[in-house]
Point group: C2
Chain length 773, copies 2
């Protein structure tokens, strides 16, 4: 008797032994329903991990993939030690047995030659054909010994459970199995379950059923599903060598990975051509998964063979990360983030094609809504504030950032009106116009970058600001805000979409659910063109690390220097140093290290600086100074204090100051204070930072103070935008060439045309108007 296929009402081309109707008797859904969202998987208590043969065995199928198996054991043991109840459905006995039998046979055949020739004859010999059931029997004990040895390393006990489908067929047997497993779980033992292959019928050669026999030994999808439902498991993790489910065969032009699969969507899937033994293929996996889902067990199908993730694929799934395909019965109300991105890109394209005045109008309307609908906004904000205060975990500074007031909304509206002015001259500006040849005109035109992802923390006023910047630059926008401001963000986003609706581009700005993990968003490299993090430098660092292949506009650190030259004016030094450090010490453009020319040490200025700073900040010293018995020694010259603390160091010359900054700085903003113009110009020229200042506070490094209007952020990247970034940072260009049947061949040696390459005045007209010469 073979292990019976599952009971589903789908067209079942694979159900070869469906005659056993009694198999269908099971208590579907009797223990509540499966989880609706990945984030809930963290609550899963009882988990079945199914290891397909592709996971357990090496590529050549002649032995076990030990490294993979060991790290899976490690994860299972870890989850078990967290108090979860783990069960493993394993393949691998056949592979283990094959390896063992082959080894035995070969050794007995040729042990002496092999040992005396000194060559590895074993591997040159052809593999004898071995019967799978014999292999399974020979391998099972070794496989279990290996599992036991591995789990012992984590102080975890295991138990072997071999089953046939008779054990499910017969109610009494099923209850016996059930109570045995319950007892094992109760004793904190991990049951390792496999089919009892030794007692299944032999494969029938040259028969259509041959494949099935192979499967009954190799494929454990249905066994795992059956067990999971029988044992009322919360989660079934089915690991094999595929990433999960695609809507068409992977590799074809349009194949899209399915992150969450809803049973109702099944029609939309095209399976690939099945091989003869295709019962172990994706369709069978999906069938088993749906069966388990119907029985109340959540299912994730994932790849257990990818070396990059094997070491944490199971724990990632249990932590709710986007790994593999998650099967869910409950379709969430809103669109997925992928659908949102698609919607915003499409609507964004229309936004980009509007007249600048129209984009400007949208922003003005949003500004109006901020004041007109104040009450609604403030009510939502109050809800967030109340929640935060009751939860009691937000520090006062954060509460302050979270809270909105009529005054804050008013100044927000004023800012938005400024952006609406800037919007008049952003998209579609002609930067360069060249007459390439007679009737061949080239223009370089500003265009939006595409889809922006802006991630911000607890400050809800970011939302309309960022939205206005995106609208002004014609970009589609995905917003991901902090959980704390969920209610406020929801209202502000609704108002933004209301404003966008006036020109039919409502969907261009999307608010991503707070459930979405930032890390997962940063992986959408085919859908998102630029990430702008707005928040702490920790946030920026995390995002820079997580963003795979998507540029990030921002800076993760600001280690700004002020260098006081030998010829500095006392007044300017005291004024600028104080402003640079103390005006707003948490800002990225605040001074972190003060460099002093050695000549100053012997002057009254030095004491004045020390006196002033000592009254304001905690000072740290380095090298020369630390010998002078100043109390606090700086641990590093690369520290960003972000507080009323600052490091002080002595240098011998302007050149040494430059070298110091190149070595320890972050290329953000650096200042020289001197009355010597030559020294100053040398400093400004040589220093390789985004902002270099002479006799001015480092705090001027800011888009508003620079007069850029709206500020997107400050970038310390070396390409694209650098320093304070205005709207231009959200624009790129495209080249528009208008010809009259021109070919490159026309310009070849024997061609009829010549390149003119005449630069034309750029003027004001927008793209879309043709020169008629």
């Amino acid at each position: 008797m073979r292990f019976a296929p599952l009971s589903l009402s789908l067209p079942v081309c694979l159900c070869l032994s469906l005659s056993c109707a009694s198999l269908l008797q099971r208590d579907v859904g009797s223990h509540g329903s499966s989880f609706a969202h990945r984030s809930e998987l963290r609550q899963a208590k009882r988990i079945v991990v199914k290891l397909g043969s592709a996971v357990v065995t090496r590529g050549d199928e002649c032995g076990l993939a030990l490294g993979r198996l060991a790290s899976i054991v490690e994860q299972v043991a870890m989850l078990q030690n967290q108090g979860r109840e783990m069960m493993i459905v394993t393949s691998g006995a056949v592979a283990f047995g094959k390896q063992r039998l082959r080894h035995e046979i070969l050794l007995s055949q040729s042990v002496r030659q092999a040992l005396h020739s000194g060559h590895n004859q074993l591997k040159d010999m052809s593999l004898p054909v071995l019967e799978a059931r014999a292999c399974a029997a020979a391998g099972q004990s070794g496989l279990m010994a290996l599992y036991e040895a591995m789990f012992t390393q984590y102080s975890t006990c295991t138990a072997q459970v071999l089953v046939t489908n008779l054990d499910f067929h017969d109610d009494e047997k099923r209850q016996n199995l059930n109570s045995t497993l319950q007892e094992l779980l109760r004793m904190n033992i991990v049951p390792i379950i496999n089919t009892n292959d030794a007692v299944v019928p032999p494969p029938e050669p040259n028969s259509d059923l041959q494949g099935v026999n192979v499967i009954s030994i190799k494929d454990n999808d249905s066994l795992a599903a059956r067990l999971a439902v029988e044992m009322k498991a919360d989660l079934l993790i089915a690991l094999s060598d595929v990433e999960g489910l695609y809507d068409s065969p992977p590799g074809t032009d349009d194949a899209k990975f399915i992150d969450i699969f809803y049973p109702g969507d099944q029609q939309s899937i095209t399976y690939g051509t099945k091989s003869r033994v295709g019962i172990g293929g994706m369709e069978a996996k999906v069938k088993a998964a749906l069966w388990a889902l119907q029985g109340g067990t959540s299912v994730v199908i994932a790849n257990g063979t990818n070396p990059k993730v094997t070491g944490h694929v199971i724990t990632d799934i249990v932590e709710g990360k986007k790994v593999g395909t998650f099967f869910s019965e409950i379709k969430p109300a809103g669109p997925t983030v992928e659908q949102q991105t698609e919607m915003s890109r499409n609507s964004g394209r229309t936004l980009a094609s509007l007249h600048p005045d129209q984009r400007s109008e949208i922003i003005c309307h949003l500004a109006e809504l901020l004041t007109e609908r104040q009450e609604e906004i403030l009510a939502a904000n109050k809800m967030d504030m109340d929640l935060a205060v009751n939860a009691g975990h937000l520090p006062p500074a954060m509460l302050n950032r979270l809270s909105l007031s009529p005054a804050k909304l008013n100044s927000l509206a004023i800012g938005l009106r400024q952006i609406s002015v800037a919007a008049q001259d952003s998209v579609g500006r002609v930067l360069r116009r060249t007459r390439v040849a007679h009737n061949l005109e080239l223009e370089q035109v500003t265009v939006p970058i595409g889809v922006l992802l802006v991630i911000f923390e607890a400050r809800p006023d970011c939302l309309p600001q960022v939205s206005a910047l995106a609208i002004a630059s014609g970009n589609a926008l995905l917003l991901k805000g902090g959980k704390e401001a969920a209610n406020t963000n929801h209202v502000l986003h609704k108002l933004t979409q209301e404003a966008l609706s006036m020109h039919g581009v409502k969907e261009a700005v999307q608010l991503v659910s707070t459930r979405e993990e930032v890390e997962d968003l940063c992986r959408l490299d085919k859908m998102i063109d630029l990430i702008v993090p707005r928040g702490s430098s920790q946030l920026v660092r995390d995002i820079q690390r997580a963003a795979k292949g998507i540029p990030v506009l921002g800076h993760s650190e600001g280690i700004c220097h002020v260098y006081v030259d030998a010829n500095a004016s006392i007044d300017k030094v005291l004024k600028i140093v104080r402003d640079s450090k103390c005006d707003y010490p948490a800002a990225c453009n605040a001074m972190e290290t003060l460099l002093i020319h050695r000549d100053i040490l012997r002057t009254p200025l030095f004491d004045q600086i020390i006196d002033m700073l000592r009254g304001l900040v905690i000072l740290f010293f380095f090298s020369f100074l630390k010998k002078k018995s100043f109390p606090s020694e700086a641990k590093s010259l690369r520290t960003e204090y972000g507080d009323l603390e600052c490091c002080m160091e002595v240098v011998d010359s302007m050149q040494e100051a430059v070298d110091h900054i190149h070595k320890y700085g972050s290329s953000h903003t650096d200042v020289i204070i001197t009355e010597n113009e030559d020294t100053a110009e040398q400093f400004l020229q040589q220093l390789d930072s985004a902002c270099v200042f002479w006799n001015a506070s480092s705090r001027f490094a800011d888009g508003y103070r620079f007069g850029l209007g709206a500020e997107v952020g400050i970038s310390t990247a070396r390409i694209h935008a650098r320093g304070p970034v205005g709207l231009e940072g959200l624009l790129t260009t495209k080249w528009v060439l208008r010809g009259d049947g021109h070919t490159v061949a026309d310009f070849s040696e024997h061609g009829t045309m010549k390149y003119l390459h005449e630069n034309q005045p750029v003027g004001q007209p927008l793209a879309g108007q043709r020169d008629s010469n």
Copy 2:
């Protein structure tokens, strides 16, 4: 007796039992010397892999890190099966024994309570204090069983060898050990060597020697070194939990990783403060490594615990990749690539500070040298050509690209002179000038990006071209050329440095050794600011994949479309389609897919297009067309044929063409052919590609044809530069602010100053001249 420390003439604070002078007797260097370069490690036949206890055990030291161990076994078995002779020096018996004894003791104490309470009491209990030697004895058998079970999976036999230092002390014993190991290796068996801890003296409590006793059990550095030399191994791989060697304690401001360590450099290393049992620390490792090196064995110290690389750390090392610290006795003549980068950055900063005329002069001089020193260049090129022809593996097209001629050199020189003109107006150009306030003036000035890495293949003429572009833009440059052109590149680089010398910036352009792996260069993200690959799209793709955190300027694919609208002119269609596909089919701007408006199918134009194309190219069809019994069906609409092949598809409207291109294109260059200006402008506006053309061949997408002068490349990235990139693509900007003691506080509500933000004319003067208002 403890395992004795090694014999070195260094100040040996660790040699506690150096009395055994006979230990020093060994035949140093008797079997030739160690390898000079990592790339030679591929030839290593006999390899000792030493697994430190940090590698073998888990963080809590209470069990083995099975996943790690298994993947190490996998790698060792693989190398053994390649015909190498592998030996393992292992730790881990103590950990295995600890785990086992603890388990036994706890079980015997409380098995009943644990089993019946259902809770995992085992893990809650405190670990009994176990004696290390007892643990080692108890663990050794289990450890070996595990190794054997694992290696069996790869058909590899193992043998246990336990040694004490008596076995090295006594000549006869040493020879016995030696011949046993030789015999094992001859029989293709992997010896697994450990210290026979059960027979070493017990640790003396509260003695300064306690640490040493711990080490004699735990630390196998010296054992591995001793064995490697005794067995005349070619390579010793010492794996522990550190990346390798740093020149100062890791984590300090200036700590630099040492890629290759030369014994002569030892003075330059500062070791961290040693813990009491620090004998197992880095200094001991280095001592052991130097001892092995002196004995003729190459050594690599690397991290065997990094989950990202554990699966291939050993094979990577044997493949010559930059993993860990490589110990070499022979210091290569030239600087390391890190030193080259440093030199070029420093010299590049001087280059950037030259007057534009001076940069221009350097380029002109290089142009002169290309013609003046023609014979030298052509002689070197002939050597390369002869080598390539003799090797016989280069296809004719590649040979053609490799070869230089007086004509090629002449046109190169002409190109360089054009770049020298462009150099006049690149660095130091003021893009924006703002009067922020009275006496507070802001400028945005163009500056070089920093250090460029340009990777090119067999075309040596790339070298002077790229050098000229870097010089013109004031950038430092690392050049990595193909091996085939090594001699030519060498001469061309020499001439480039000669030209650079005229203004003292010789080192700004560096030629990287052909031995350096591109992949390793792409990891220097702290040193290189931009990578420009010049070559096949495969090269670009490889580099985009390898570049970690460094932006890559280029495009990996060019899937360009020509859309023939319903209102297209027959003449223009035939001309443009032919030119777009056939002018140079391998180019990235050649047409790959021809989109036809459905209305054309019924017109003679369609037949004319088909007739023309059939004579020139192989046509593939999709959807509607494939039903019309055209023979070849395209597999994918995303194929870049790069040859006289092209795909054809029917669309119902201009809008559908745009959607098709957005879905399947690569945003490179796309063309519409139509006589309807409205349709054309809609297409140009809506299509989101770097280049969008109307009635002109896609082949115009090129820096020279666009009139940009020198071309850096074509970029399909969305930020920084897009489409054909001229010199500007190698520039960024910095903000220069000149004040007179201005602080931000002056501009606060109660301050004395007001922002003016007046835009000033940009004019021509370079940065460095101050307005005096």
